[in-house]
Symmetry: C2
Subunit: 189 residues, 2 copies
């Protein structure tokens, strides 16, 4: 499987990888047991502190792991991992060691106990920043503490999920930089 | 500009259009003044009720309009509207009538006062369902009350924003339906 050389990346700039809306893999650990889940419901919320909101349905084995440990890693897979993404989303960590079954490599991070997934080109070490909407909406607001990103990003395509087993891959770039009359690098936008 | 024939679409299924992460146009109105903004920070939050979370920075002219009216329409543009998307994101409704300047057509909805944008292939009529994170994070949780979707969806490409003036267009479909061992049409997934 593909491996990447990675370097630290500014956490305030990670919107570059999440705002386009890729499916992500969330890794977590609690009391010696690591797990991975597939997740499509996330949004960037702030540049600095670097905040990301994620809906983690409470039926998932990862839900309690993340709520108790208050940590996770958000990993962005490329299209080559589509079968792992589907497989991980279709079994439960209750019964399966997903790192083992899907031949993925856990890598120790520096800020959290949750393992990074080596085979993903972006790894974001996260801690819960605000849990007040967990009970009402399963909505976790994470702060990204550290970002590890592949040094060679050219030609990496991401997967975007639309439900019912159908993914859309990322396509061509359109550069409209010259049309930005005033530089507003904000969500809006 | 392109126009679409649209029909009602089940609000519980609108993840199909938002989960892949497209840039959207938010239209709103208050006291006779309509506005449009460009937005990339959104996530689906629930199927039923159909909930969508959006970060609307409080510096935007639309922020107060939406907070006061408690309504908006989320419109999904195709790639053909890229210059409108950029232009709308680079001027303020304080000074500009954006429907007029960008030659977009406001259409009256049935559930909210905010106008739909005719030239977008998806229009979601929304009302604020939970505003408790507006002050802390500019985070609005909307309920989608009614969805209008183009009848011909083939070959429509969406725009996905990664910051600094660069968009990614949506690419090829990958159908992995046969690999879904148990049908979990959930966010996770």
């Amino acid at each position: 499987m593909k491996e990447y050389t990675k370097k630290d990346f500014p956490v305030s700039d990670i919107r570059r990888f999440l705002e386009p809306g890729p499916i992500v893999l969330i890794s977590s650990t609690w009391k010696g047991k690591a797990n991975i889940m597939t997740l499509g419901w996330h949004t960037v919320m702030e540049f600095s502190p670097s905040l990301v909101g994620c809906v983690i349905a409470n039926g998932n084995f990862s839900f309690e792991i993340i709520r108790k440990s208050r940590e996770c890693v958000i990993n962005v897979p490329s299209v080559e991992l589509v079968d792992e993404v589907v497989g991980i989303g279709n079994c439960s960590g209750d019964a399966v060691d997903k790192f083992d079954r899907f031949h993925l490599t856990p890598v120790q991070g520096t800020e959290v106990s949750a393992p990074l997934i080596r085979e993903c080109f972006v790894n974001l070490e996260c801690r819960i920043a605000d849990g007040r909407l967990i009970n009402a909406y399963n909505f976790f607001i994470f702060e990204v503490l550290k970002a590890h990103v592949a040094t060679a990003l050219n030609k990496i395509q991401t997967l975007h999920y639309r439900g019912k087993g159908i993914f859309i891959t990322s396509g061509e770039l359109v550069n409209k930089r010259h049309k930005f009359t005033k530089w507003k690098d904000s969500p809006n936008f």
